[in-house]
């Protein structure tokens, strides 16, 4: 039973972080597309801004790995 809880915790960790990242990226993506239509020279800044929230899901993934490998 303990294994099930661990797996569930790991899944929640990465799943919730992924939903949060997706939500933030959707907002940035929509705003970025609008900004690009006006100022194409902003493409670099917008790609970077779009990649920033990825940290959330990466950290969620790391926490999931720590849970599954039994660290702490």
């Amino acid at each position: 039973m303990e294994k099930v809880y661990l797996a569930l915790a790991a899944a929640l960790s990465v799943g919730i972080a992924a939903v949060a990242t997706a939500w933030v990226q959707s907002r940035i993506g929509a705003a970025g597309a609008g900004a690009l239509a006006e100022k194409p020279e902003l493409r670099g800044t917008i790609i970077v801004m779009l990649a920033i929230p990825e940290t959330l899901v990466i950290l969620g993934f790391v926490v999931a790995i720590l849970i599954l490998t039994g660290v702490g």
Partner: protein, 626 residues
């Protein structure tokens, strides 16, 4: 590195200004600037902006019109082949626009002729097919009256034909006939015969039901069926030859006018640039001054050629950039040929400011390293090297393509190297064939891999912070330097603490590590104030962000392992193999995209933030238009 620049003031007699501008444009080395005293808009002393005379205004208008007309016509013509070239009048001559308009009219007429022939060809093909089908049929009526024939096109549907027959019988009291023959794949040519006095009602019925009546083009209308057919077949034979002749005329026009138009466009835009450059020059009653920036290494050559061309009548004064001119100085990146392709990776961010640090050498080292850490597969690396070699050999994409191929080659070589270190070739296929990990097995040692990527992050962020600290101290920004130095000390202390906790260092190193980290935080706060605490926390967050290299790497190796499992899990074997190849191809494609974006992001967000000063001005020398 960022090439040292020099500010050059070219001075000479006023009457030589035109010749000097032509000379500078041909050399193409000086990035022009308006002389500082003229920027305020208030004339200073005897120096004033060079005004355009009435004749020059007229020239500007003529050149703009000539450039637009040449560019438009050149774009509208097909690519020019070989042929006799036409000599166009000078771009400022009044006869130039007249001649270009005549050439354009010739092009429009030829294109209109081609379009008409194309349309006629479609009509002839369609009606030819229908008339061939209708030719054996004769209009007949079962009862009394003169038959009125109506040709129709219908899709092949027996039910539709039955419905039509029923409607016509109802309308004519059974005195009609419907004959049909196939015309093409899905079409029927139908000959309906009705009494002439009922033809109007029949036409109305067909219109109401949306049945398409065959109406021959005006050229063939009113002709007997056989004659119309003969005419159509004759046209069908004539049209290809006429179209080929029109196309040949268009190609000849392009060969005759295309190169001349290109030269005219080049000339018009170059002269226009020269005229507009006048507005950036200053003059006194007898002298002129042209100001601009040039890479310092190019100054002796410019001075020598000015002396040689103008015999000492024109001279160049050379100054080093002043501190207040930092934002005005254009930036030229100057790196060894091996590193130069990586300058392309800076295209997505503003160029570095003059006097700041050029990150290209660090990009050349860490970008392939991160890519290799993520992909880490000898098989995919070898495929990548083969693709990059093919790309390079074929010369795709010109100079930019060659640079990208060089970056791809470095990334693929790094992936191959890390594949050997991790013992991976197409996932675990390498291990099954006897490849052993030399460093660690990413599939099993997840925590060790996480530690490796975060350690690399620590080094990368530490390097960025060190560069920033040294740069600040060299420019005597003491407080900024102290803050950055403090953050560097904090990172070093944190590294010691992490290694002690992970039992890589003895447990006794924990306390000194904590002291060092605390001292680093104190230094950072001393240099940057309380807000530096936030920066300190962000620095640690920056390091953790490198865990993405581990996350993407594990995802890549797991996908490859799933692909390798397919031939065992899926039957028949061919389907399993096909799925495996598909998944490996998907992994290869993802391996091209995700690591590139992740590596770029780590550089732009985590690394550059520590030292990079954007907002540099690109170097755009005054040159002939190409």
């Amino acid at each position: 590195m960022i090439a040292p620049m020099a500010k050059v003031q070219v001075l000479g007699p006023r009457r030589r200004l035109g010749a000097v501008l032509s000379f500078l444009q041909e050399r193409g080395v000086l990035d022009l600037r308006t002389p500082a005293p003229l920027l305020s808009g208030v004339p200073s002393g005897a120096l004033r902006p060079v005004p355009l005379r009435e004749g020059e205004h007229a020239s500007e208008r003529a050149l703009v019109a000539a450039a637009d007309a040449s560019a438009r016509l050149q774009a509208a013509l097909p690519p020019p082949g070989r042929g006799d070239e036409e000599a166009l009048p000078d771009v400022e001559d009044p006869s130039f626009p007249v001649r270009v308009e005549a050439l354009d009219a010739e092009r429009r007429a030829l294109e209109a002729r081609l379009a008409a022939l194309k349309e006629e060809r479609l009509v002839v093909e369609r009606y030819g097919k229908l008339l061939v089908a209708l030719a054996p049929l004769r209009p007949t009526l079962p009862g009394a009256g003169e038959p009125h024939p109506v040709g129709l096109v219908m899709r092949r549907d027996p039910r539709a034909l039955e419905l039509l027959d029923g409607e016509l019988r109802r309308l004519t009291g059974g005195n009609c006939s419907v004959q049909s023959r196939p015309a093409g794949e899905n079409q029927l040519a139908v000959l309906v015969s009705v009494p002439r006095d009922r033809s109007r009602e029949v036409a109305a019925l067909l219109f109401e039901r949306g049945v398409e009546e065959i109406r021959l083009p005006a050229r063939y209308a009113g002709q007997p069926l056989v004659r119309a057919l003969q005419l159509l077949l004759a046209r069908e034979r004539e049209i290809p030859a006429q179209a080929a002749a029109a196309e040949a005329e268009l190609a000849a026009l392009s060969a005759r006018a295309g190169p001349a138009l290109r030269r005219a466009l080049h000339e018009a835009r170059s002269r226009l640039a020269r005229l507009r450059a006048l507005a950036r020059c200053g003059e006194t009653r007898h002298a002129f001054v042209v100001t601009g920036w040039i890479p310092r290494a190019g100054v002796p050559a410019l001075e020598a050629s000015l002396g040689g061309t103008f015999g000492g009548r024109v001279t160049a004064l050379v100054h080093d950039p002043e501190a207040s001119e930092g934002e005005d100085v254009p930036v030229v990146l100057q790196n060894p040929p091996l590193l130069r392709p990586f300058e392309r990776l800076l295209a997505l961010v503003p160029p570095p400011r003059y006097g700041s640090v050029d990150p290209t050498p660090f990009l050349a080292l860490f970008f392939p390293l991160f890519f290799g850490l993520v992909v880490g597969d000898a098989g995919l690396g070898a495929l990548g090297i083969a693709a990059a070699l093919a790309w390079r050999r074929r010369g795709w994409g010109g100079a930019a393509g060659q640079d990208l191929a060089a970056i791809a080659m470095a990334c693929a070589a790094s992936a191959l190297l890390f594949g050997l270190l991790f013992g991976e070739a197409f996932g675990d296929l390498g291990a099954r064939l006897g490849l052993h990990p030399l460093l660690l097995d990413r599939r099993r040692a997840l925590l060790a891999f996480l530690g490796l990527t975060v350690g690399v992050g620590m080094v990368h962020v530490g390097l960025g912070t060190a560069i920033g600290a040294i740069h600040s101290l060299r420019h005597r920004h003491w407080r900024k330097g102290l803050e950055r130095g403090g953050r560097l000390v904090l990172l070093a202390g944190s590294a010691v603490v992490a290694l002690a906790v992970a039992a890589v260092l003895p447990r006794g190193a924990l306390l000194p590590g904590l002291w060092v980290a605390g001292a680093g935080t104190a230094l950072a706060v001393a240099g940057g104030g309380p807000m530096a605490l936030l920066e300190v926390v962000l620095s640690l967050g920056n390091v953790l962000s490198y865990a993405r290299l581990m996350a993407l790497g594990v995802a890549s190796v797991m996908l490859a392992e799933v692909a390798n499992h397919m031939p065992v899990a899926v039957r028949p074997l061919a389907a399993g193999l096909a799925l495996a190849i598909l998944l490996h191809a998907l992994n290869f494609t993802l391996g091209l995209m995700s690591p590139l974006i992740a590596s770029l992001r780590l550089h732009y967000v985590e690394f550059f933030e520590k030292f990079y000063e954007g907002g540099g001005r690109p170097y755009r020398p005054f040159a002939l238009w190409t």
